[in-house]
């Protein structure tokens, strides 16, 4: 029998549930006697911690959160609808802006879906360069997370280090694609251009710098007792709850689920050509999520190094018609993006543009766990938990 309809108490036995209700009622009586009134705190839409316009409605009792709920949609731009009036090559300029810190990674699953419908496959060199750029945007994205984490917890120095070293990666992306934030570089059947001369050597130097940055952040933040006491045991997501809420990416791996689309699915990308470790953590708390991301950044630099060594020669563009018409059909392609699983369900009616597109973005699912996670925590922990869940507002609202 289930008396209370929420995931925590559903796991308790009947007697435990009844005593839970009794304790809640006792609390309520005490509150009535002392006339303590709760307070509703709106964290956002304009708030330094939500980096964007997410609004968290939190009902507080003193510093404790009774319940909290995210309210999103303040930055909804309607990309799914807008794609219907664009041609396939034009769509990449829209979807670049979903997860704006790792833009190139947004383009890849959509282009792969379109290629799947057309039956085209990019030449090997294009696949390798795509994978390299994909991992570079992962590094650019997650390195900013590592710096921002410090700011959310009150340490202001790491963010400057993050911006300093992310700059090198952005310069690389810019010199290869022409765009720092929104490369718009992926084409159906390959890439717009080949890599510029000297890019490979330069990238190797930058990857070394990024590994140093990871070491710096590890010694500055992760070894700090205050950081550990703020994150360890805070916002614990058990393995099965994480899977129920559809978390993905580092949030899922930090709960001990060994699941990474780069390794687990067969896609026309170069991940299966390199050797890398998928990091998991058994704890599922905020510290685990941050730690997994740190290790992933390191792993990504190693992936890039390996790919640079073995990059094949050849064209970067397959033979595709000048005017792209995608045959009728439906395709679902998802990849392991910096924030988690990102997928596109593309429906084509044989026109130059998609008939319908459904975007599955990682952050939307990742923050859906917040009402469950924020119950009973303190106000400072809201920020820790939101920071460690790591969402990007464009990725929530699309």
């Amino acid at each position: 029998m289930t008396i209370l309809n929420d995931p925590v108490s559903a796991k308790l036995g009947d007697r435990a549930q009844l005593s839970y209700i009794a304790s809640q009622a006792a609390d309520a009586r005490l509150n009535v006697e002392l006339e303590t009134e709760g307070m509703t705190l709106n964290i956002g839409p304009q708030h330094p911690a939500t980096h964007g316009t997410l609004r968290i409605i939190a009902r507080l009792d003193g510093e404790q959160v009774l319940w909290a709920e995210p309210s999103c949609g303040y930055m909804h731009r309607g990309y799914e609808k807008l794609t219907e009036v664009r041609s396939f090559p034009q769509v990449t300029s829209l979807i670049n802006r979903i997860d704006w810190l790792g833009s190139f990674a947004n383009e890849v699953p959509f282009i792969l879906a379109a290629e799947k419908l057309m039956g085209v496959e990019a030449p090997p060199r294009a696949q390798w360069i795509r994978t390299i750029l994909f991992e570079l945007s992962r590094i650019a994205n997650v390195s900013l997370f590592l710096g921002d984490l410090g700011v959310q917890l009150g340490a202001i120095t790491p963010v400057f280090m993050a911006f300093r070293d992310r700059e090198y990666v952005l310069n690389l992306i810019e010199s290869a694609t022409g765009g720092r934030f929104h490369p718009n570089f992926d084409r159906i059947g390959g890439l717009k251009d080949d890599l510029p001369a000297g890019w490979i050597d330069e990238t190797k130097v930058v990857m070394k710098k990024l590994r140093n940055f990871c070491d710096e952040i590890e010694s500055l933040l992760f070894g700090n007792e205050i950081f550990q006491s703020r994150t360890r045991g805070i916002g614990v997501i058990p393995r099965d709850i994480a899977m129920q809420y559809g978390l993905s990416g580092a949030n899922l791996r930090a709960s001990g689920v060994d699941w990474d689309l780069r390794r687990d699915q067969d896609s026309p990308m170069a991940w299966n050509k390199v050797d890398f470790k998928v990091w998991t953590h058994p704890d599922g708390d905020s510290f685990a999520r941050c730690w997994v991301r740190l290790q992933e950044t390191r792993e990504a630099t190693k992936i890039v190094d390996q790919l640079l060594d073995g990059i094949p020669a050849g064209p970067v563009m397959a033979k595709v018609p000048k005017i792209i018409k995608v045959p009728e059909g439906e395709a679902w392609v998802s990849t392991e993006n910096p924030l988690g699983e990102m997928g596109y369900y593309v429906v084509s009616r044989g026109d130059s543009g998609p008939f319908r597109v459904k975007i599955r973005s990682a952050s939307f699912n990742n923050i859906s766990i917040t009402p469950w996670l924020l119950r009973g925590v303190y106000v400072p922990d809201i920020i820790t938990i939101l920071a460690s869940l790591y969402f990007i507002l464009g990725d929530i609202d699309r």
Partner: protein, 351 residues
């Protein structure tokens, strides 16, 4: 000090002169130096240049900031308790002001020679809690309220280890007069050696560490900046302040850091003095007059060292959570400082 001018000044005139002297000679330079030093230091730690445009190497940045803040509109929220809202920054600044009054800067260069200077300094430093609570409560803002309440809890909790840490010094110096504490340190000796005198940072090291941690918390600097916590509470109790009222909070923060560092240097680092054995002085009366000029410079130098320490910690540490912060004060700092008092008392009797 005022007898130097060889004129009789009525008591109110003396008080006024002291207040003006405290403002012009100590607080403004302290605020300015601390501010510029802080910004440059912070920038170099964070691999950037910091202010560069205002004055040579950005040294006039503070004046540019003051000019900027004075031009801004003074906004008061509709639902704010206006009178208290306006009073709050002044109360906070007043506590800093009153603190300066007892800091000695030389054998004759002091504003007041209090017999119970230590007691007074610790008492007036807690006035700022009232100002912060007033600001938090009167702003009619939920973030301000949370910030103000956090600040009140924190400042009261850290007042205690601060007082207890100083008691060790008082036991050792056998006086509460700050001037005599300075003399006791510089004329003293450790195990018969008077090369460096007896700065209490050596013999009262535990007390010094506890005192500096408590100062960090009193200043609401990271890792104890929960009341401001810009990533959670926007700006805590000063969220609603703008224009020159914000400026008072803002500059007051740096000036208070400077003044607390001065008090700490007086209590633990020997204040204005140099070890008396260097120049063959033995008592207060034999100190040469030039120390009245050199003294303030020495105090400022020591202040900078301690401010550097405070800011260094501020820029490298994340912040505690409110409950962890309270636990740290009550379960760690207070037992340590109590044990320190006991050890000091036993050793004082033994030697």
């Amino acid at each position: 000090m005022l007898s130097l001018f060889a004129v009789e000044i009525p008591y109110w005139g003396q008080s006024l002169l002291r207040v003006l002297g405290g403002l012009v000679a100590v607080l403004l330079p302290a605020g300015t130096i601390v501010y510029v030093f802080l910004f440059k230091m912070m920038s170099f730690m964070q691999s950037r240049l910091g202010p560069m445009e205002a004055g040579p190497y950005g040294s006039m940045q503070l004046f540019a900031e003051v000019g900027k803040w004075l031009q801004k509109e003074d906004i008061q929220p509709d639902n704010a308790d206006k009178r208290i809202f306006r009073m709050a920054p002044v109360v906070v600044l007043m506590s800093t002001f009153l603190l300066v009054a007892v800091v000695p800067f030389g054998p004759d260069a002091w504003f007041t020679d209090f017999e119970t200077g230590v007691f007074y300094a610790l008492a007036v430093s807690s006035i700022s809690v009232l100002g912060i609570l007033m600001a938090g409560w009167s702003s009619a803002n939920k973030y301000s309220l949370l910030g103000g309440l956090r600040a009140a809890g924190q400042l009261i909790a850290y007042e205690l280890p601060m007082v207890l840490a100083v008691i060790g010094v008082v036991i050792q110096a056998e006086t509460m007069n700050l001037q005599q504490i300075v003399v006791a340190q510089n004329a003293g000796s450790i195990f018969g050696s008077d090369i460096v005198g007896n700065p209490y940072v050596l013999t009262q090291f535990v007390g010094f560490v506890v005192f500096m941690i408590a100062v960090q918390a009193e200043l609401t600097q990271a890792p104890f900046d929960m009341p401001i916590a810009e990533s959670e509470l926007v700006s805590g109790y000063m969220t609603e302040y703008s224009g020159f009222r914000f400026l008072i909070f803002f500059i007051g923060e740096f000036a208070t850091a400077g003044v607390f560092a001065m008090i700490a240097s007086t209590l633990f680092l020997g204040g204005w003095g140099v070890p008396f054995s260097w120049f063959g002085w033995t008592t207060m009366d034999s100190v040469d007059n030039w120390m009245n000029v050199a003294g303030p410079l020495i105090v400022f130098t020591k202040m900078m060292v301690l401010v550097f320490l405070i800011m260094w910690i501020r820029f490298s540490y994340p912040r505690f959570r409110e409950d962890q912060l309270q636990r740290f004060a009550w379960k760690v700092l207070i037992p340590i400082s109590l044990a320190n008092i006991m050890a000091t008392a036993v050793l004082k009797v033994a030697f």
